[in-house]
């Protein structure tokens, strides 16, 4: 495996020469390998979006070094190639939609890559299909519902098919089925195309699907572990304001009555399976 994103001793603030407690990022040392699927959790204002903007040179460190495929993000001549390597889906899709016709909007990045028209056409079809918005290809993105805009913003980056996709809360405005389908697409991009995924989210259930979770707190990375180990640390999750999913709360309540369900049960299906297994054991003993 080889390293795609490499950050060492990174500090960041918008205005230079402020006092030390003004750092929005502090002592970030991070390396993400090609093909990884990483989720980032953290409270509002903890620095998730600020960190993500360092991955494609939208922001550059005040101190320390960020390299993408070995390219230093501070070097002006690297920026174009870095942005083609790392695609970013922003928190608010309005910041991302540019053309007045959806299919042009989605074609924007592949056109900039200088791909042949046939290939562009195929990618646009595929990307719109992946977010279930093919019917809207000739509409204008500015007259869509909130969730539809979010889907178009996702399609725009999918069509670019970069080596790495950063998604900043891509499902915040989607209904449950829309969220599930975006997550399926993310998995497919990761496993089929080997695209590196960085997913910023406030939904623990979504983060649980990654291979690795980073937790941010006041500008620092305070945890960097696989989901199972993160979710078994309830107290810490609570302290860091990340909350506990309802299913986990139910599990905890049942445990208090001596029903010994596994601690890291996170989905309804797994919870039901575990309860049934316990019931069988329980009644078997009588």
């Amino acid at each position: 495996m080889s390293v795609l994103i490499d950050m060492s001793k990174v500090y960041f603030q918008y205005l230079r020469n402020q006092s030390d407690n003004q750092w929005l990022l502090s002592d970030i040392n991070l390396s993400i390998e090609k093909g990884e699927f990483v989720a980032i959790l953290g409270a509002n204002g903890s620095g998730k979006s600020t960190l993500a903007k360092h991955f494609n040179a939208l922001l550059v460190p005040s101190d320390g070094k960020v390299q993408i495929n070995g390219m230093d993000t501070r070097e002006e001549q690297n920026k174009l190639q870095i942005r083609q390597t790392v695609g970013m889906i922003f928190q608010n899709p309005d910041n991302q939609l540019i053309s007045t016709i959806i299919e042009e909007d989605v074609a924007f990045a592949p056109e900039n890559l200088g791909l042949p028209p046939e290939e562009i056409h195929q990618r646009v079809d595929w990307a719109l299909n992946a977010v279930d918005m093919s019917a809207y290809r000739l509409h204008t993105p500015f007259k869509l519902s909130g969730g539809q805009k979010q889907r178009i913003a996702i399609a725009g980056v999918l069509a670019m098919r970069p080596q790495c996709i950063i998604m900043d809360e891509p499902t915040s405005m989607l209904d449950p089925s829309g969220r599930a389908s975006v997550l399926r697409t993310i998995h497919r991009l990761n496993t089929t195309f080997g695209i590196t995924i960085v997913l910023i989210t406030h939904h623990l259930e979504e983060a649980a699907q990654a291979q690795r979770i980073l937790v941010m707190d006041r500008g620092r990375i305070v945890m960097d572990d696989p989901p199972e180990s993160i979710f078994s640390q309830f107290e810490l999750l609570h302290q860091l304001n990340l909350g506990i999913p309802p299913i986990t709360l139910l599990t905890k309540r049942l445990q208090r009555h001596g029903i010994d369900l596994p601690a890291n049960t996170m989905t309804a299906d797994k919870c039901a399976d575990a309860i049934i297994a316990m019931l069988e054991a329980h009644h078997g003993n009588h």
Partner: protein, 285 residues
């Protein structure tokens, strides 16, 4: 008397163009003081379009909107004042912020209502605390905040007007766990103290289960379900067809029932679900 009543509201975008879209189809419902109503529906089902009708931002093609019993479009001269009574928090908070400091942004509504300086100041402080931000934010530029911080400021701005109906479009999207819990709790407090009605548009079924009294389900511009929260969540199949879901807790019970276990599937709170599951262990299979 109902604060808001909609009767047979229809609305289409782009009438006469090739993009014509019937966004609302025969919508009728009413909201009383103290109600906590949730509006749900898949992406593009018409939720944001619907709530824009509640304070006169959009005018129905046909049908009527009554505010305190008066027809908004034929009996009310001062439609602008409706915006102070019926406060709307938009889906993307950035679209709502425009002043150069957070303090001025939150003060905008109360100032326009003609309140004196002292009162405005007090309301700004109250609203800021309500959304969990400290006074250090007052002098900050609202466009240089994190996504969740911006949303909190947008909510504070509407709250400072102390409207009699507070309509929020996905207010908890982008908020962290504490922020979500805080805002929902505060809304509940505000409702109880002031007797205001709350209308919440959200995709988060768990939030609805915990807070809403009634739920309206939209599907392709039509109201397909409307009733108490428990009764709406007992329609798991219809919800699924609409791209929606039941709360996660309820899903566990539905799974158990599918496997032949004798549980009720209308439990939507942790307590109720716990009770149902414990019964299984006591009763014996």
């Amino acid at each position: 008397m109902a604060i808001i009543e909609l009767k047979h509201v229809h609305y289409a975008y782009g009438v006469g163009t090739s993009f014509e879209k019937q966004a609302l189809n025969n919508i009728s419902f009413s909201v009383d003081p103290g109600d906590f109503l949730a509006i749900v529906g898949h992406t593009g089902s018409g939720k944001s379009t619907l709530i824009r009708h509640l304070n006169g931002l959009l005018r129905p093609d046909s049908g009527q909107v009554f505010i305190h019993g008066k027809d908004l479009w034929s009996q009310m001269k001062d439609r602008r004042s409706v915006r102070f009574q019926i406060g709307l928090v938009f889906q993307y908070p950035e679209t709502q912020l425009f002043e150069d400091t957070v303090g001025k942004d939150i003060a905008f509504g109360p100032k326009n209502m003609g309140l004196n300086e002292q009162e405005v100041k007090q309301r700004v402080q109250e609203a800021l605390a309500f959304v969990g931000l400290d006074a250090s934010y007052l002098e900050r530029n609202p466009f240089r905040l994190s996504g969740g911080e911006m949303r909190r400021v947008a909510i504070a701005g509407v709250l400072a007007m102390r409207p009699s109906v507070l309509v929020l479009d996905e207010p908890t999207a982008g908020l962290d766990f504490d922020g979500r819990a805080l805002i929902l709790q505060q809304l509940e407090q505000f409702r109880i103290k002031s007797g205001a009605a709350i209308i919440l548009v959200t995709h988060n079924m768990d939030d609805i289960a915990e807070h809403a009294q009634r739920v309206i389900v939209l599907h392709e511009g039509r109201m397909v379900l409307s009733g108490t929260t428990a009764s709406v969540f007992s329609e798991a199949d219809i919800l699924k067809q609409c791209g929606l879901d039941v709360p996660q807790i309820t899903r566990v019970l539905i799974k158990l029932k599918e496997r032949g276990l004798p549980v009720r599937t209308d439990a939507i709170t942790l307590e109720a679900a716990e009770r149902e599951i414990l019964k299984l262990f006591r009763e014996g299979g």
